[in-house]
Amino acid sequence: MNQRVADGTLIDRTREIAFEFNGTRLKGHPGDTLASALLANGKRMVGRSFKYHRPRGIVASGAEEPNALLGIGRGPRFEPNQRATNTELFDGLQAQSQNHWPSLEFDVGAINASVASVAPVFSAGFYYKTFMFPKIAWKHVYEPFIRQAAGLGKAPSEADADTYEHFHAHTDVLVIGGGIAGILAAKSAAAEGAEVLLVEQAPHWGGRALVDSEEIDGKPTADWVSAEIAALEGLPNVKLRSRCMGAGLYDHGYAMLYERVADHAPQAGVPRHRLWRVRAKQIVVASGAIERPLTFAYNDVPGVMLASAVRDYLGLYGVAPGQSMVLAANNDDAYRTALAMIAAGLSVEAVVDTRREVTGALPQAVREAGVRVLPGHGIAKVHGKTEVHAVEIGRLSGAGRLLGGTEKVYCDLVAMSGGWSPVVHLFSHCGGKLRWDDAAAMFRPAPERAAPLGHDGAVNTHCAGAANGALQAAECMADALAAGAAAAGGKSTTKPPKIDAPEEAPMEPHWFTPAAGKLNTGTKHWVDFQNDVTAADVRLAAQEGYESVEHTKRYTTLGMATDQGKLSNINGLALLAAELGKKIPEVGTTTFRPPYTPISMGAITGRNRGPLFKAIRQTRMHGWHAEHGASFEPVGDWYRPYAFLRPGETRAKAVTREILNTRENVGLLDASTLGKIAVKGPDAATFLDLIYTNMMSSLKIGRCRYGLMCTENGFLFDDGVVVRVSEDEYLLHTTSGGADRVHGHLEEWLQTEWWDLKVHTANVTDQWAQVAVAGPKARTVIEAAGVDADISAEALPFMSWIETRIAGCPVRIFRISFSGELSYEIATPANYGLALWHALLDAGADHSIMPYGTEALHVMRAEKGFIMIGDETDGTVTPQDLGLSWAVSKKKTDFIGKRAMERPDLIRADRKQLVGLLTENPREVIPDGAHAVDQITAPPMRTIGHVTSTYFSPSLGHSIAMALIERGSERMGEVLTFPLEGDKVLKARVVDPVFLDKEGARQNV
């Protein structure tokens, strides 16, 4: 049935476009929203409700829509829960309704509703009260049933095919909202010379004025809006964006905008959404107001709509949401809807107004059109299941009762208006406080109580127009001009445009319309359509002691989910206040949080997906590794070869081969990722004595020393070899992942505690490529590569270093070992890295040289009992716990962590200490993190410590592990018990953590 009755302001009736709804092909016009096109096609029922699966129709025409949530698109472009009212129609759009099975028209879940009428299983707090017993039923009966029946939409199953982006902008004044208030605020701010950004969530400008005002300054409103927008576009200091919603306001003028760039015209090469991150000196919030529903029995039947939405569909889209209407209202503004229906040649059966006296100009005009206006009346009940077909109207008493009988009025449309609520969301996001306006029955911004502030402590956010509570057009425009000028630091002298708006009589709050009999308990008076919360649920919550509005929200689910109570909040808390015998402002509102309406996950992610998700650091040899079978693993921001896999080889096999070859012949490791920090200055030695637990001032030029760094808590933080380059210069090696952290630590102490020390630090990690040559043939290989210096055991003993050249590459050779083998770590300026790598590989070809990866490195260090930061340490482990007391100076008067090491907790005898473990079964590797227990009992068992590193050692042919065990050093030889998953128990003997070559004979050759 075609419901298109007239030309709408926004649509082009000369052209038709096709779309699909639940597989049916339908037609609309360019400029339609999906909601207007559905209504034009007579589709009033668009979904089923969340809990009871009741038929639901379109209620609103904008962002506040609670019901018309549809799944839009297909496959990789599918997205659930899209509001039909904010979805622009385009050719080929595919939409599906949600929350029903097997079909929208016939739904099994609706049985919930009939069950509910017998026993209130879904009433307030049902999550907490029902489905409790028997316990086993939860898993097998209740949860699967709830999951099948409930839930909003279905998640997409494919990766998103669209692109998204972030956009950064700075402006003097950001104006949010492109209605008449936003337009005039932008105009007056621009007149003061400010850079202005004006944004509007809809595709069109003008907001409600397009429907609610016939003329502005003597021009048709649409023409006035076009002229004003054209004038703003012509100004060099104004930028405008439609389809761009103010999503959130944050500290110091930081605003998040959500621009729907291509939702209305999906195409490749254009981002779908753009997330704007704006820093504005001043913000004007001109976000308008939202009409409130009235709470009467069966107010959720499709065909019951907001009054403003009814006239939006008529005026903007030329669509009649119904042929014959009953209007229920408590204010004059709603009568505009009756006039719009009459103007479109449609029928208004009656107007019921809850006010005793109805005297305004608008009601008068409706009366003059021959419509029955009934003051002191309300809707007692709506008839109809999937569509309205009649209402019962009745006279109201002041005490919330119906006086006398009701009258049945046949109609297919009910328009309702309970007054208007300013959209105070954005103002409230970063601290703006509200006050209750008794006369207009609304919360409005109260900057005098608290307004968002800039970094300088000055107010930086102003509300304008309806968002500020100025609901009448004339006051709205004057307010907006003043707000815009104030934001730009001036005072508006512009006269507001002339608008011919009839005087409106005051509204009267009306929160609950009585019904006959049992219905008057409110079980069919819907407050929150999206979450199926009724007036009875709110009452029940109050009776059960939920006095705080925040608690009531969570208990009843009022104001949750995608619409966050845009329609329901004020009605809900008015009912709660009445039930508690309090005033509405005493109950207060729930917290408004960004975003204003849901924004896409894609927009939040922007371009940061796939390879751009995280930056990856690569060494100079990375390309070679990739070409030679490297299986990479992330280490900090680096990608390092875990092992070099030969064709057909598993990771484990490769690791074993690499270890055995290094121990028997020689291995080559890309150690470029090792952190390197240069510390230079006359006080460098003094500074490092404070930083390290051991003495660094006594280190001789040309020598290396293993050092430990602790935090002021006395816990081990990083380790590495320190090299003395000259009298006033050191090179610090740090862990691969820790270079930035250690550099930050040095700078913090240098800048904030010991700023009198003359020291500079520089993170030179990237300046050097580094290669470790380890194994019995290491020296032979380096000599074969052509080294300009004597590297014999006598000339270059263990823990010393020299500067020389290898194969023409300038190098620093450090004779240090993390594998326990004869080992040289060779650093060369980064650009020589690959050349050095090739030179060593070539030289080693005759000596069975093989590159090895990080896993071989880890296993070999564990075989030697060397700790790994992050494995053996976790921020609560001291050097003493790890048997590293030898590296903690007793001579130094001070170093970071020294005082803490005297704390009773750090010296108690039952601390966990590092031990080695040999499993009883040599082939069985203990799982990492396994806990040792005193004795096996029923869980929970008392743990005495846990495994920190665990491997199968190819060198020893035995499983080895390191562990932190309570009083570990006293337990040598003891067999510990490790309960594992599924009743399995593993036993391991406590041994010294140095498993291989305790004397160091292999490295000292």
Binding site: L453, T752, D894, R899, R903
Partner: protein
Amino acid sequence: MLVMTCPYCGAHCEETELTPGGEAHLTRFGPGSGDTEFEGYLFYRKNPKGVHFERWRHAYGCGIWFHAARCTVTLEVFGTYSAQLTEPPADLVAKIKQKRPDWEGWA
């Protein structure tokens, strides 16, 4: 998302350029200090509702640590200054006192 001016390089910094460093003007108690003094230094921090002196580092900029005086309620930044001072500059203290007459002083 705060905005602060780095007193060293002059940049008007976004919060994402900065890393926070907790309370400013702590006195370090090292070896030789008593248990109570050391406990206070290591574990106890002011947590005022109002004026707070704190450390920040312009980590993704010049790398310099600085101090800021900030209201923890309104987020107003009264001023930023060098970290190499053992107490806030007198003019900043006077400015805060003028804006917050009830403030009890920084110590």
